[in-house]
Symmetry: C2
Subunit: 553 residues, 2 copies
C-alpha cells in the first residue's frame, strides 16, 4: 500500500527555520531549508538551523530541494545543508529571484557545483515518484510560489508564505485559478502559512503603501531615511517612485540593500534611473529636501546601517534635527526591544520618526484570517496540517479550518519531527524522528546545547575562577603559592581576604589528598573543585565556574 509521509523538520511550534521533508516510495523532496536568528539566551550563537540529521542519513534518497521564496527563514540554511549532505548534491529548484539569491549565498560558501534549476510557475516536472509545480503567489518578495507535489494519493500543497494581494505592485496576483483547479482535482494535504491567522479580515494590499509613503514624504522638511527589509523589492520600488514624484534623489545604505537592489534591477524587478541614484559619499552635495536614504536596519540589527546612524557611528550619514526616519516594516516577534531602542536614539538625536502605527507605511506579506479561509476553500483539502507558526497560531489555524467545514479529525496540529503518514485508509502521526536546533557559531556548526553553550551560559552568569596549583611530581606537595585568576567575578572589598582563604583551602585539600594517598591529577582536581566551589559560594553567594588546574613539575 502506498504511503505518503510529510515530516516537518522546522517551522512548527516556532517562527522561523521552515523545512519539510515529503516522502513516497523511499524518495524524498525537501521543501525549504530556512534558519532562524538566536534568542539572547543563546549567547554567542550566530544562527539557528533545523537539525537535519534525518536528511544526512538519507542523502542518496533526495530527489530535489525546492525553495518557495528567498527569505532567510526559507532559504538561509541552504549552504549548510548542502555542505553537510556531501556526495552527489540534489538539484535546487525555485523562481528566478530565489535562485539568484541562492547563488549569491552559495558563492559566499564556495559551493559552486550545485545545480540550480529555475522553475517557471505552472511548469510541471517529474521528480521520481513526484510531480512538482510552483504556483505563483504574492508575498513581500517577488517570485514566491506555493509548492504542489503530486503523489500517488493526490497533491500535497505547501503554501510557503503568501497573501492574496489583489493589486500587487507588479500587477501579477496569486494564481487563484490554478489553486481552484488543484482543489477540483483533489488536494490530499494542505500545509498552509499560519503567521497572521490571529489577525481578522484581509491584509491590506502592498500597493496601498506607495501613496502612504508619498503622503508622508510630502510633509517632511529635510532628509528622509526609509528603512525596510532589503529583500522587499517592491517596497524599495515604491520608495523610489515616491522619491521621484517629489523630486528627491535616492541613496542606498547597507550592504544587503545595495546587493538586493542590484539583483532586483538585473532581473527587471526594480526600475530606477541611474540619474536618480546617488552614492553615500555624494550625500552632502544635495540639499536635505532633495534626499531619500533607503537603509537596512528595520529590525534594529546591531551592525545595520540605520542602527549605526542612530548611535552616531555611521561613516557617511550623520543624522540631525530635521531628518525624518520612516519605519516601513514592523518588528519580527523578539526584535521589539532592539527596534524600540533604535527609535529612542533617533528621538534623542532630534529626528522625527514615523512607524506603521502613525501611517500605513507598511503592509504585511502574510495573509490574515480571511485569506487563510479563502485558501482552504479554494483548495478543498482532504487533510490539513497548519505550518509556519508557534503553537498558538497552529491552534488558531486549525480552528479556522474547522470553521470552513474541515472535520476536526482531518486536521493535524503537528510538531517538528512528527511525520504525518497518509495512506488510502487514512492519516495519522507516525513515530517521532530526530528534529530540533543546530547552532552556527562563527564558521562552526554543531549541537552546542550540551557543552560549549552551557559553559558560556555559566561563564556569562557568574564569571570564572581559575586556581593553578603547581605540584612536585614526587611528594605531591605544592611547589609555589597557587595562582588565582578570575574574570567576570565582581568582588573588591573581600578580594585579599578571599585570596588568602583560597590558598589556605588549597593547602588543606592537598594535605587531605596526601593523607588519603590521592595522587591522580584528575582526582586531585575534583577534590580541589569541590572545596573551592564551596568556599567561593560561601563568601560571594554566587557560583562562578571554578576551574582548578594542577600542574606537575
Amino acid at each position: 500500500m502506498s504511503a505518503v509521509r510529510v515530516l516537518p523538520l522546522g517551522g512548527l511550534g516556532e517562527i522561523g527555520k521552515n523545512m519539510t521533508v515529503v516522502e513516497e516510495d523511499g524518495r524524498i523532496v525537501v521543501v525549504d531549508v530556512g534558519l532562524r536568528f538566536p534568542t539572547p539566551e543563546m549567547v554567542g550563537i550566530d544562527l539557528v538551523l533545523p537539525d537535519f540529521t534525518y536528511l544526512r542519513e538519507r542523502a542518496s534518497e533526495i530527489e530535489a530541494i525546492v525553495i518557495t521564496h528567498a527569505h532567510e527563514d526559507h532559504i538561509g540554511a541552504l549552504p549548510w545543508v548542502l555542505r553537510e549532505l556531501g556526495g552527489d548534491l540534489p538539484p535546487v529548484y525555485g523562481g528566478a529571484l530565489t535562485l539568484a539569491m541562492a547563488r549569491a549565498k552559495l558563492d559566499e560558501h564556495r559551493l559552486r557545483d550545485v545545480e540550480l534549476s529555475e522553475l517557471d510557475s505552472n511548469e510541471t516536472i517529474e521528480l521520481g515518484p513526484f510531480s512538482l509545480e510552483l504556483i505563483h503567489m504574492t508575498h513581500s518578495i517577488p517570485d514566491s510560489g506555493a509548492v504542489a507535489l503530486g503523489t500517488s494519493l493526490g497533491t500535497v500543497l505547501i503554501t510557503g508564505d503568501y497573501k492574496f494581494d489583489q493589486t500587487p505592485v507588479d500587477g501579477s496576483p496569486a494564481d487563484v485559478s490554478r489553486l481552484a483547479e488543484l482543489g477540483r482535482d483533489g488536494v490530499l494535504l494542505l500545509c498552509g502559512d499560519s503567521t497572521n491567522v490571529d489577525r481578522p479580515g484581509f491584509s491590506p494590499s502592498e500597493s496601498l503603501v506607495g501613496p502612504a509613503l508619498r503622503e508622508v514624504f510630502a510633509r517632511c522638511p529635510g532628509r528622509i531615511i526609509v528603512t525596510s527589509f532589503a529583500s522587499n523589492i517592491h517596497r524599495v520600488q515604491q520608495v523610489v517612485d515616491a522619491a521621484a514624484a517629489l523630486d528627491r534623489k535616492v541613496v542606498l545604505a547597507g550592504r544587503s540593500m545595495r546587493k538586493n537592489v542590484g539583483i532586483g534591477r538585473s532581473l527587471g524587478h526594480i526600475d530606477v534611473d541611474d540619474g536618480q541614484l546617488v552614492g553615500l559619499r555624494e550625500l552632502e552635495d544635495f540639499p536635505d529636501e532633495r534626499i531619500v536614504i533607503i537603509s537596512t536596519g528595520s529590525q534594529g540589527e546591531p551592525l545595520s546601517a540605520l542602527r549605526r546612524m542612530a548611535y552616531r557611528d555611521h561613516p557617511q550619514v550623520e543624522l540631525r534635527d530635521g531628518d525624518t526616519v520612516v519605519f516601513s516594516a514592523t518588528p519580527i516577534p523578539g526584535n521589539e526591544r532592539a527596534v524600540n531602542e533604535t527609535i529612542d536614539r533617533l528621538y534623542h538625536i532630534g529626528c522625527e520618526v514615523i512607524t506603521p502605527r502613525d501611517a500605513p507605511v507598511h503592509a504585511s506579506g502574510h495573509g490574515y484570517a480571511e485569506e487563510v479561509k479563502l485558501m482552504l476553500n479554494l483548495v478543498k483539502p482532504r487533510y490539513v496540517m497548519p505550518f509556519h507558526g508557534d503553537f498558538k497560531r497552529l491552534r488558531l489555524h486549525a480552528k479556522l479550518a474547522e470553521a470552513v467545514g474541515v472535520p476536526p479529525e482531518d486536521i493535524f496540529e503537528g510538531d517538528n519531527g512528527l511525520p504525518l503518514v497518509i495512506t488510502e485508509r487514512g492519516a495519522g502521526f507516525g513515530e517521532r524522528e530526530q528534529a530540533g536546533m543546530v547552532f552556527v557559531d562563527g564558521v562552526e556548526i554543531g549541537d552546542m546545547a550540551d557543552v560549549a553553550l552551557r559553559d558560556r551560559r555559566m561563564l556569562s552568569a557568574d564569571g570564572i575562577f581559575i586556581v593553578v596549583v603547581t605540584l612536585a611530581e614526587q611528594g605531591g606537595h605544592s611547589v609555589t603559592d597557587p595562582e588565582v585568576i578570575f574574570r567576570g567575578v565582581p568582588f573588591r572589598d573581600e578580594a585579599d581576604e578571599l585570596l588568602g582563604e583560597i590558598r589556605l583551602t588549597v593547602d588543606e585539600t592537598l594535605a587531605r589528598a596526601s593523607a588519603e594517598d590521592v595522587r591522580e591529577v584528575e582526582m586531585l582536581q575534583q577534590m580541589l573543585h569541590e572545596d573551592l566551589a564551596t568556599l567561593v559560594y560561601d563568601r560571594l553567594r554566587r557560583r562562578p565556574m571554578v576551574l582548578p588546574v594542577v600542574v606537575e613539575v
Copy 2:
C-alpha cells in the same frame, strides 16, 4: 537670589528607576528611589539602580525621601540607597500601603532603624525650606500620590504614576480639586508621567475590568488561572469578586501574590472571606469549574508560578486541556518575548489563553494623552519637565504641553543627570551631574560596566582559552608542556591539531622572549597573549578570551 534645582537621577530617556533630587538652600528632598530590571545583554546582572553618587556625597543635606507609590520602579532601590548613605538616615515618607511594602523590603535587608512616616493625603509638613504634601491619585496600586513640594519660588509638582480614573474600584478618584487649587496658587514646575502619552484619548477605568473578567469566567468550562501584578490590589479584588459571583474558590499562587494579598487584607484594601480562599495543596479537592487560581508571572518571569506551570515544573499545579489562562496585564516593554513564550507553552499544553487583545481584562494604570493634557490644564505650571519615559515619550509629552498653550521655551526635555535650575529670572539646564546605572549582582553593588560585565560579555560570546606555562625561575625555559584548558569554545575536528600549534607557539614565544632578555612575568604573559590570540583567531575565526598564566617554579 534663591534657586530651586530639580535633578532627575533616573526615569528620563528610559522606562524605570525613577529618582529625583529637589534642592533649595543646600537642602535636599529625594522623590522616589526606583530600580529597573536588566536587559538580556547585562549578563548575570540581577537589578539596575540609579547611580546615586550625587546623594552619597550630600548625605547630610537630605531632609527626607518621599515615595509616590510602592511599585518597584519607584521604591525598589530604597534598601540599597539607605545602606549606602550611611550615618543618620533620613526619614521616609509615603502612604500607608507604600510604607508597609517599604517595611517588608527593609526587613529583608535587615535595615531596622529607618524612620518610616506615614503621610495622609492633604496633610502638609515642613521639611527645612520645603513644605511637603501628598495629593491622592489613582493608579494600579492603592495609596498613590503626587508629591507637591513647596519652595520659595512656588510648588514643584512631581506626579508620580497616575491616571484620572473617575470610577476607581475603591470609590476614591484623584483629588482634582486640590490639583486645581495648587494651579490657582501657582505651580512653578510640573514633572509629569509620560508613560502613555502616545495613546490618544482617556484610559479605561479599572472598574470596567471586573465585569469583563466575570464575562470571560462565565464562558470557562474548567479551571481558570488569572495572572496579574501582585501589587495590583484592586485587580486582585476584582478577580476575587468575579470568582465569588460564579461560586468559584480562589487559590493564590506565587510568593509575592500571597505576601501582597496579606498586606492588602491587613490594611483593608482587599475584602475576601476566609472561606473563599483555598490552599494550593487543597486544589484537587475541588472540581475544576469551582476554582480560580490567581498567579504571579504575568511578565513571563523565569521563576514565577505561571511560568513554572507553563513549563510543567510547578509542584502543585499541573495544567491541562480545559484550563483557561487569563492574562490580566500587558507585557512591559522588553518582556514581550518572555510573555509570548509562556503563552505558547500554554497553547502547547492545550490550555485556552485570554489576553487583553481578546477581551478588556486589563486597564493601564497610566493616563493617556487627554489625561496628560487635563493635568497640564488643572495645574497651569510655569515650567514643564516631562518625566517617566524614553526620549520618544518625553518629546510627545512636550508636544502635548505645547498643544495646551505652554510656551515652547518653558518646556524642558531633560535627561538623567541634567539639573533644571529655576530662579526668579527664569529656568534653564545647569551643568551635568554624575548619573547612570549601578548594577546589583547577587549581594554586590557596583559599577560593573567596566570590568566584570565586559569580561562576562566576552566570555559569553566566545568562551575562554587558558594556557598555563610553567617556567623554571632560573633560565626561563618551560619545565613541562603547557596545559591548555578551554570552556565555551566549540571545536572538535581541529582540537588535536590546534593544541599542537599552541604548544609550538608557546615554545616560539618563550624562545623569542629569552632572546630579547624578557624575564618579567607580566611582560611574558603579554607576549604570549598576543601570539596565542592571533593563532586562535586564525584557526577558529573567533575571539575567545585568551588567558596565559605563567607559573614560575
